[in-house]
Symmetry: C2
Subunit: 289 residues, 2 copies
């Protein structure tokens, strides 16, 4: 079965809109997300546009703060301080990557954890790892929501995560091993230093590919009936496209699709769920006021 | 080879003492650890005694704050506020467990992260999980130190962690999978919902047993040549002892010792290293002032 991330994202957007309409009717606090975009990286601009568009669709308020690539770290930190103190903003994100002259860690640490809807601040990350209530990082939260809405059984399953990044692989491995639903998986976290990654993948009931290498997961690395979650969004050249490229995942989709019990496509799989999760966090922030 | 946790702890205690002697000579800041003990749980009292004794041996200053089991949460939080603000205290711990009428989470959250030498505050836990500098939780830090000092190769090894507690299993799985030395393991985290825990353990080059069940790891769960780290400290009745009990680990030591390339005994294995790690954190706190 193909997991329709785009369709699910639309469904949840409508649910969020219904909830926000109700809040509006009762004169409550309408969720308001701010996004800070520095420079003109086209991928970053496109991600931020998607987020703003989703806000509109769900009835959220949104504010886009666009700054030139030449902004100093100090100026950016001042903007963050303003957003932290702005009662009208429930949550905000600073789109990564930032220009080289700005320290991303310092920026992340400056965000008030109660407005950190990306879930990147260490205090939110730590609470997640300790099983406490927190803002979950958007991509892992989107995947957990997907598993939940598709009623995919996770308890007692063997999950193999490929890639140990702070934004996907590591938090996914933590979330799926927790005592929760979805969760309660036996989780193996693999990465570039893993000796025989194919053998590890072959053991997976649930395989999370988040390594950033196009079509890394081949058919012979996948067990019959496995659930395949493809987090990769890789641009590969394609002269037949007007843009000159197309998006492919970390999984060799065409070869794997027959073996998988569930699989996410790229695009329209995990990507739209990441934005959805960000909005769920923003609503949570607005309601906790 | 039997890993001599007690001996290594003594060696490091001497190294710490040498460093503190040097600090004293130069008129620097002598590390000062405070421990808060609530009630009269004999195990807790014994742990705290060991910590104070280690402080003395390493030339640290120590303060023991003993409170009756009837102390209110508010009173305890006031003590923590005082310790947070006390310039003379570099780090402090509140010995767990606390009486039922006190919310442990609230207590942990009240500790200033820069004095949280137990590494339990979410911001320290999150930094650890994100690979940032932080106070590592004492038991995992002690084990990492052991692996390091015994020059046990971890890169590319398959590590199986049994038990997903916040104080041992989960942080161990995170630390060993990080890009670090020791680290770079392929890590499988197993727990009560794991379907075939014996098969998982059999795959381990490095096995971390932290499940709290006496002799849970039997010989047929261990691969020839594996490194065995036994975190269990279980009291089992023993009429032949004056105390009426003896301590056994989570590993069936006598059956496993022949197969293991390295193994920690119980007692005198991981236990003394936990106290050592706490002291390393305290020195780090003192030096960062």
């Amino acid at each position: 079965m193909i997991i329709d991330g785009k369709g699910l994202a639309e469904t949840i957007k409508q649910e969020l809109k219904d909830e926000v309409d109700e809040i509006r009717k009762q004169g409550g606090n309408i969720p308001h997300l701010a996004a800070v975009l520095v420079g003109d990286n086209p991928a970053s601009a496109s991600y931020v546009r998607n987020k703003v568009k989703f806000c509109e669709g769900a009835g959220f308020e949104s504010t886009l703060i666009k700054k030139d690539v030449s902004i100093s770290e100090e100026e950016l930190l001042e903007i963050i301080e303003d957003l932290n103190g702005n009662e009208d903003i429930d949550g905000f994100i600073v789109q990564l990557p930032l220009p080289d002259h700005i320290n991303e860690h310092r920026v992340t640490m400056a965000i008030d954890p109660s407005k950190d809807v990306d879930g990147f601040h260490p205090v939110n990350f730590g609470k997640m790892a300790q099983g406490l209530d927190s803002f979950l990082p958007a991509t892992p939260y989107g995947i957990m929501t997907m598993l939940d809405r598709y009623n995919i059984e996770t308890e007692g399953k063997h999950c193999v995560v490929v890639g140990r990044s702070n934004i996907v692989g590591t938090p996914m491995s933590i979330l799926l091993s927790r005592k929760s639903k979805p969760g309660n998986c036996t989780v193996t976290l693999t990465h570039s230093r893993t000796k025989d990654i194919a053998s590890e993948c072959l053991r997976a009931d649930i395989l999370i590919a988040a390594i950033g290498i196009p079509k890394f997961i081949s058919s012979d690395m996948v067990k019959e009936g496995a659930v395949i979650i493809d987090v990769g969004i890789n641009r590969v050249e394609d002269a037949s496209r007007k843009s000159g490229y197309r998006l492919v995942g970390d999984v060799d989709y065409d070869a794997v699709v027959e073996k998988a019990s569930f699989i996410t496509p790229v695009p329209k799989g995990v990507g739209p769920m990441t934005v959805t999760a960000l909005m769920m966090n923003t609503l949570k922030a607005a309601k906790s006021k």
